[in-house]
């Protein structure tokens, strides 16, 4: 087990390093630069000075300096937000996104899994059909539409939630629910698929034949197997949810980190692009590691094959 974790950790570090190198190549090969944004271009001398100041006149040097900083968790300055460092931006925005993403994933699992199990058990019933239709809606309706619809109903018409913003508990439910809907849909679908497979397998028949109660068979024996695909979906999904959704943030005015992915890329803000990508890929690798560990814990056969 520990050998597995160590190996995965090393591989994860290599992955993040490769992602960093790839992002760096993409960023420096983009046309345009952060010093030329806005209404008036700065004088060439000033631009040269700025580039020298941030070591951006020498790509290789910049690569090394940013890497050295990133290892020490110091991502350096941004080029578009004056007086802010990347660290400050991440420190202010990431906790917001992590809280929201965590809530969204919790909602998605707590609703998606039971719905998937029930629709697999009552296959073909009205519950199955209607939950499948809802799943398809969850996958098909863009989040900005569901978010706006929730806002209109709960904030404008019923006035039980604030219209947008951040800071109180009341600001949490609507964006968390909106963010969770697509994940919930996928989880319900994966659970249903896995559950149908599990319910048809021999060990379930054996358990039923031995006289175990159908409820225990479904929720303990079968769900344990059916949950595995959901678990592997949760790794990338959690990383995605916790690095924020620009769309949900824009609809609800949430100061999360998702907007910085978009703005940094649009502004060609090299430092911010690379630090947000590093945050994302680190989270991704970390969650995949957690999923691997949970996997071997649920299904010990896997650790032998790894």
């Amino acid at each position: 087990m520990i050998a597995l974790i160590v190996r995965r950790l090393l591989l994860g570090i290599v992955t993040v390093a490769c992602i960093y190198a790839l992002t760096f190549v993409m960023v420096i090969s983009l046309p345009g630069n952060p010093f030329q944004q806005g209404q008036h271009n700065i004088p060439p001398e000033a631009e040269m000075a700025l580039r020298a100041r941030y070591s951006m006149d020498n790509n290789w040097l910049y690569f090394q300096e940013f890497l050295a900083g990133a290892v020490r968790l110091d991502f350096g300055p941004t080029f578009t937000y004056n007086d802010w460092t990347c660290n400050q931006i991440i420190a202010s925005a990431l906790p917001v996104s992590i809280l929201l993403g965590f809530l969204a994933i919790m909602i998605a699992v707590l609703i998606g899994v039971p719905v998937g199990v029930l629709s697999a058990v009552k296959r073909g019933s009205w519950f199955d059909v209607s939950s499948l239709s809802l799943v398809l809606l969850g996958i098909s309706v863009p989040t900005f539409v569901t978010g706006s619809a929730l806002l209109i109903v709960f904030a404008v018409c019923l006035q039980v939630a604030p219209v947008g913003g951040w800071g109180t508990l009341g600001h949490l439910p609507l964006p968390a629910l909106t963010l969770s809907l697509p994940f919930m849909a996928y989880i319900a679908r994966l659970t249903r698929t896995g559950m149908l497979d599990a319910l048809g397998s021999d060990f379930v028949r054996t358990a039923l034949a031995k006289g175990a109660s159908p409820r225990a068979v479904v929720w303990k024996h079968a769900l344990k197997v059916a949950f595995l695909p959901v678990l592997s979906f949760l790794g990338p999904a959690a990383a995605q949810a916790m690095t924020g959704s620009f769309v949900v943030e824009k609809v609800f005015g949430v100061p999360g980190i998702g907007q910085h992915f978009v703005n940094a890329a649009l502004n060609r803000d090299a430092g911010l692009i690379m630090s947000t990508v590093l945050v994302f890929s680190t989270l991704l690798v970390a969650f995949n590691l957690i999923v691997d560990v949970l996997y071997t814990w649920i299904d010990p056969r896997i650790s032998e094959s790894v």
Binding site: V145, V262, L289
Partner: protein, 364 residues
């Protein structure tokens, strides 16, 4: 790299499980009757979805002459701006005078009769804040969205299938390297990739389309979306080719002296058609949805070109300022959602048809 196995587990279940065993393969009895295409054609939900999409496509194509003329005609008259759906406001004579007076020669006699109907239709979905007919924006918008979806899927197929097949057929270090590259790109945030691709492509393509910014814009958009949608395709195809190569019937062919080109053409390629078509069909709705997100962020299709995502995003903005403008969000969103659901049903139908083993578990 640790991520590979994790990501492989997250792929669409049916495709991940498609281990090359299909009804035609020896040793596996056909789970249902007929060829994949016949199974596909007999699926009730895919029939309904295909019919719905056909209606949308035909309507958009038939009205295309009118929508091309009217999609950007603004009626800044107070009486026309924000007119609700189903309430005609401008008389036809007034309209023809305004419209044809501006956009070239007038209509012929038959065209005028036709135009009268077409003009009545223009008020069915109401007007937006610039007095433009939503009906004649939604219909070409549907075509633009569908076109972006199809083009992105095409790009995903070309890059992804080639990448996966080359990796699997070459094997060894090349295979390892190619799949590691896919792993690493998987580790990048999707939206960032699309934006960076879009920025990188903008300059060369705008130069290529000299002057036609509208078209350059759309091409950039589907190239960017397609350029990030090929990863899963590459993995699926690689897995498929690898498992096909070790199938008994391929071994039998090799044992009886068949060359590798013959095996590729006779055994591998025909068995790749199913997964390629299935996955391509599932990329289309994803690409349409991605376009709507990009439009909502203001980096999708640029005004005044309509797309379903652009119109839905504009509608959301309009409704956020005043809830009374319900038609601006209802019609684009309804068409968008219906299109996406129909496309998803068709994708699921294809998956069921080409991989009957999974049909048990998938939708319907």
């Amino acid at each position: 790299m640790g991520m590979q196995s994790d990501n492989e587990r997250t792929e669409p279940q049916a495709l991940a499980r498609a281990d090359g065993s299909r009804p035609g393969a020896p040793g596996k009895p056909a789970a249902r009757y007929g060829t994949p295409w016949r199974r596909f054609a007999h699926n009730r939900l895919t029939q309904v979805s295909a019919a719905l999409l056909t209606v949308f496509v035909v309507t958009s194509l038939v009205t295309l002459p009118f929508s091309l003329r009217w999609y950007n005609v603004q009626e800044l008259d107070k009486a026309v701006r924000h007119t609700p759906a189903f309430s005609p406001v401008v008389s036809y004579g007034h309209y023809v005078q305004r419209v044809t007076g501006r956009s070239g020669p007038g209509l012929s006699a038959q065209a005028e009769a036709c135009g009268s109907v077409a003009h009545r239709a223009s008020s069915w979905f109401g007007h937006d804040d610039l007095g433009r007919s939503l009906f004649y924006r939604v219909l070409p918008g549907f075509l633009v969205s569908l076109g972006i979806g199809l083009a992105a899927a095409g790009i995903a197929v070309v890059i992804g299938a080639t990448w996966g097949a080359v990796a699997a057929l070459t094997g060894g270090r090349v295979d390892l390297l190619m799949m590691r590259i896919v792993d690493v790109i998987y580790g990048l945030p999707y939206i960032l990739m699309v934006i960076l691709l879009k920025i990188a492509l903008t300059r060369p393509l705008t130069a290529l389309f000299a002057g036609h910014t509208k078209y350059a814009d759309m091409v950039i958009l589907f190239l960017a979306i397609g350029g990030v949608s090929w990863l899963t395709m590459a993995r699926v195809i690689r897995g498929q080719v690898l498992s096909l190569r070790s199938q008994p019937f391929v071994e039998a062919a090799r044992a009886s002296g068949a060359g590798s080109v013959y095996i590729l053409r006779q055994h591998v390629l025909p068995n790749l058609v199913g997964p390629i078509i299935t996955y391509a069909a599932l990329v289309i709705p994803q690409a349409v949805l991605q376009e709507s997100f990009l439009s909502f962020l203001g980096i999708g299709v640029q005004q005044p070109t309509p797309s379903l995502g652009r119109l839905a995003a504009d509608g959301v903005e309009a409704v956020n300022t005043f809830v009374g403008y319900w038609w601006l969000i209802t019609f684009p969103c309804a068409i968008l959602v219906l299109t996406l659901i129909a496309l998803n049903f068709i994708g699921d139908g294809l998956r069921d048809a080409f991989d009957p083993k999974s049909s048990e578990a998938m939708l319907v």
